[in-house]
């Protein structure tokens, strides 16, 4: 198995924890893993991205070559499009539909969504609204992870364990919230 995944969003949206969950799942499955992320300047409300690669063979580059990513998972729709050249022509784009509007000239959201729809393999989830409904506002990223879960190549139990591991220290309530969020996202990907 080999997967190359771009995770994108805005600084502070929980990209690092999403990458950590998938990374843990990959390690627990005995796969090789490389995960690079951007720190520093761009974290200050700018666009951020993580390159996540796992494979049963050794992985050479920390960066995914352009045109080669199997998937873009994005916590923000504009950011999903920013990294489009990295996606392979058969790749999946799985994104939140909720804009994170911290710039003056944020484009028309309908226009953004219709660009996403042009990619044959896409999944759109209104993760913020679901998070609100579930009373788990901080779980937006896990909902999107759920929506992507079918394409990650892991057994459900492996992902579930990875979520538990990440939130272990925060107690059972937070774990439950995130497991619920994960399955809600997964369910929505099918509707």
């Amino acid at each position: 198995m080999k997967k190359d995944i771009i995770i994108s969003g805005v600084g502070g949206q929980g990209i690092v924890s999403m990458a950590a969950i998938i990374g843990t799942a990959a390690l627990e499955s005995g796969l090789n893993l490389k995960q690079s992320e951007v720190h520093g300047m761009s974290q200050r409300g700018g666009d951020v991205l993580s390159n996540l690669r796992y494979s049963d063979k050794p992985i050479a580059s920390d960066l995914i070559p352009e045109g080669k990513a199997d998937m873009i998972i994005s916590i923000e729709p504009l950011e999903a499009l920013r990294h489009l050249p990295r996606l392979s022509m058969e790749g999946w784009i799985i994104t939140n539909t909720n804009p994170y509007n911290n710039i003056e000239n944020y484009p028309d959201i309908e226009g953004i969504i219709s660009e996403v729809r042009k990619i044959p393999n896409h999944i759109l989830v209104d993760a913020d609204t679901i998070a609100k409904d579930l009373n788990a506002r901080r779980s937006t990223n896990v909902i999107i992870l759920g929506a992507a879960s079918e394409h990650l190549g892991f057994e459900l139990a492996v992902l579930e364990n990875a979520i538990i591991k990440l939130f272990e220290k925060k107690g059972s309530k937070v774990i439950d919230q995130n497991i619920t969020a994960f399955y809600k996202g997964r369910e929505l990907a099918h509707s």
Binding site: G45, G46, K57, R82
Partner: protein, 539 residues
């Protein structure tokens, strides 16, 4: 063996702990910060009593590490690439003194300038100082190289430079630490007690030793295994790849061997015979280096009359910017993968000051006073979160060059007649490199107004402790000779805007050195502190 998922920075930190360091000395700077942070958070490091608090700047860090080496213990010093400019005096001279306890200098370069002012290549600094340089290509190699670097340093009595770049620093992979770790050294002074006395008479002798050692350094680079020659049948091309460029090369040949001979470089100075071998064997060469063309330039020479050498200098690769698998593939003649363009609707999302940031209130006040009384173009700023004030809607600053340059450039401009000149500098940057400039301004009675933006932290790099905040800043400013009545502390908050404007007007009117300290905690750090407090309470 169990593998741990570690960033390159973390692998280096764990290796240093395992290799028996007694101290790490560092000033924060992306992408090097996490090395020291890892050691600061490590329980193991605490138990072993490894000193790890932040230094005031890279020069004090380098000298601290050198002092620990003098005393016979192992020390590591970490910084970003431009930090080495600040530490350069100590660094270059440490090559002349040599080391006693193992001394490893870790420098993280930032090609493509993700968070930096330039993309200088620290391997050149290593060459300049004439010391061994190591350049790992993956996280495990980074871990192993730290152990090797300490050995090399102690055997050959030299500081060793470990050079990494952003992608390795901030990328995670499985790393297997060694099961057998090393004890720290005992206190042990240099055998020759004049080794570290760089009087000309002694320095000349030490320098001869350093020159003589070059052969040992090359021999080490031949024997360590970090430089290797990989055979290939197709001799029409020879490939030289250094550090992580080797990964990008491999990425282009998935599950198959590279048909050309490859010289993989991870240790400098590169022995001539290794270069000679691949040069003789192949029709032409291509050089992949993450950074400036160090090996390429050496091979090509000024006259460029030998075989064809391709790389950054002949335009096969762009001269600037970091490498990636596609750039390397293209240079090797592979077609570019098919891809979609970025849709036109996408607009940039630049980093910005956080909503509620104290710097915003400072800039609003400064902008208003300038608009009211003076012409634009007189605000000399520095490096930190407040540099983001250069962008709209604030467009508040006119310079940002290197740490500390705000005060000294404002002084120079004021000397030239641009009065009043305004300097804007953060608390951490002020203690890093601002104090000496302020003394210059006081000594000359320059007409400058210096804002020291005290947000209680080193925010840009993630909220590390600053060397001096709060009252200590006033003490320092007073101590260097700024008149008491021209040291003004203000609260950068909307409700004090009018008051603050008045203070700024008064001080800009004063034709000497004034210091205004807008003081309010960074809201990100405040938020973290509050959450921690809540956690402590509920536990």
């Amino acid at each position: 063996m169990e593998k741990h998922l570690l960033m390159g920075d973390e692998a280096i930190a764990q290796a240093a702990i395992d290799a028996g360091i007694s101290g790490v000395y560092a000033y924060p700077g992306t992408p090097s910060t996490e090395i020291t942070e890892y050691i600061q958070k490590s329980e193991e490091a605490k138990e072993k009593n490894i000193r790890s608090s932040w230094a005031t700047n890279e020069k004090t860090a380098m000298e601290g590490a050198l002092g620990m080496s003098y005393a016979g213990k192992r020390s590591m010093v970490c910084m970003k690439h431009v930090g080495l400019n600040v530490a350069a005096d100590a660094f270059v001279n440490s090559a002349i003194t040599g080391a006693n306890g193992g001394l490893v200098v870790v420098v993280a370069d930032d090609p493509s300038m993700h968070s930096s002012q330039n993309e200088q290549d620290s391997r050149f600094f290593g060459k300049f100082a004439m010391i061994p340089v190591l350049e790992p290509h993956h996280q495990q190699e980074a871990y192993d190289m730290v152990h090797y670097a300490f050995d090399l340093s102690e055997v050959l009595k030299t500081p060793v430079l470990l050079r990494i770049t952003t992608r390795l620093a901030h990328s995670r992979a499985g790393v297997a630490p060694r099961l057998i770790t090393r004890e720290q050294n005992e206190l042990r002074l240099p055998e020759r007690l004049t080794q570290f006395v760089l009087l000309p008479s002694i320095a000349r002798e030490n320098y001869k030793t350093l020159i003589h050692n070059q052969e040992h350094f090359k021999k080490a680079a031949l024997e360590s295994g970090y430089n290797s020659y990989l055979k290939g049948n197709d001799k029409s091309l020879g490939i030289i790849a250094t550090g992580i460029a080797y990964n990008y090369l491999q990425e282009n040949y998935p599950n198959q061997e590279i048909p050309y001979p490859v010289l993989k470089i991870g240790q400098y100075p590169v022995p001539n015979e290794m270069l000679q071998e691949i040069y003789d064997e192949c029709d032409e060469l291509i050089v992949f280096e993450e950074g400036y063309p160090l090996i390429e330039e050496a091979l090509r020479g000024s006259l460029n009359i030998g075989k064809k050498i391709k790389g950054r200098m002949d335009g096969t690769l762009a001269f600037d910017g970091e490498l990636n698998p596609v750039k390397v593939g293209k240079a090797l003649g592979f077609p570019e993968p098919e891809k979609r363009p970025v849709p036109d609707i996408v607009v940039p999302r630049p980093p910005a000051l956080c909503a509620g940031c104290p710097h915003i209130d400072s800039y609003k006040a400064i902008n208003e006073v300038i608009a009211k009384h003076y012409s634009k173009g007189r605000v000399f700023a520095d490096i930190g979160c407040y540099t983001l004030g250069a962008l709209p809607p604030y467009s508040a600053i006119n310079t940002c060059v290197d740490m500390g340059a705000s005060i000294t450039m404002a002084k120079g401009a004021a000397d030239a007649g641009l009065v009043p000149a305004i300097a804007v500098i953060g608390d951490s940057t002020f203690t890093h490199s601002g104090i000496t400039g302020l003394i210059d301004a006081v000594n000359d009675g320059s007409n400058v107004t210096v804002f020291i933006l005290d947000n209680d932290t080193t925010a840009m790099t993630g909220g590390q402790n600053s060397a001096a905040v709060g009252n200590r800043l006033e003490d320092i400013v007073r101590g260097v000779g700024v008149a008491e009545e021209h040291i003004r502390v203000i609260r950068p908050l909307k409700k004090f805007h009018e008051e603050n404007i008045q203070v700024i007007e008064e001080e800009l009117n004063y034709p000497g050195v004034s210091v205004i300290i807008p003081r309010r905690e960074c809201i990100v750090v405040l938020d973290q502190r509050m959450r921690q407090k809540f956690k402590d309470k509920t536990q």
